[in-house]
Symmetry: C2
């Protein structure tokens, strides 16, 4: 992992660097439900460009969060799923998700 | 709170938007230990400019995470502390911190 050893103040800080923004959280969340093909992820994460999604998936693979399986079929089928490490990060994010639901989503103006 | 209602995919996503990067996590973490004066925070968070810290604290105050107390003394004394909402966000970040300690910090090369 090409991270920044020695510059972290705490574990949360270090974890945030691995997550690196909202999109990876959403990828984790989608893959936490079930494995997805690239096109499915694209559709699930509207607003995320194909290029950025591909780069995020590559980084998440390098970080050992995501497993990429090429089924070697015609037409080509490639599926992305969470590794056990990805599952554990997803689980660690759950309380944060609950906080967001309670304190942000439920307070946002509707309509 | 000037957030983006309707654009969130899940609670974690919404919470990440409130956190908005690594520095706010570090502010939460420092204030979670005890109230800090501005200068103390500055010293605790080396690498963060005075301007950015001031703007982060202002946003965190608006988001109801941080309480700013002006003691009206000479010389001026202003202290920042966590609100109950800030405490709850800090607690929600704990599992993520544990994950980062286990999976990132303990894997980083030493020296």
């Amino acid at each position: 992992m090409a991270r920044r050893p020695g510059v972290y103040h705490c574990g949360t800080d270090a974890a945030m660097d691995v997550i690196g923004g909202r999109w990876k959280v959403l990828v984790l969340w989608a893959l936490g439900e079930r494995p997805h093909r690239f096109g499915e992820l694209r559709r699930a994460l509207d607003g995320l460009s194909e290029k950025v999604l591909a780069s995020h998936l590559r980084e998440m693979e390098e970080d050992g969060l995501v497993h990429r399986e090429d089924f070697d079929e015609v037409p080509p089928r490639v599926e992305y799923s969470l590794t056990s490490r990805g599952v554990s990060l997803n689980e660690a994010l759950e309380p944060l998700g609950a906080w967001g639901r309670e304190h942000v989503l439920n307070r946002a103006p509707t309509g």
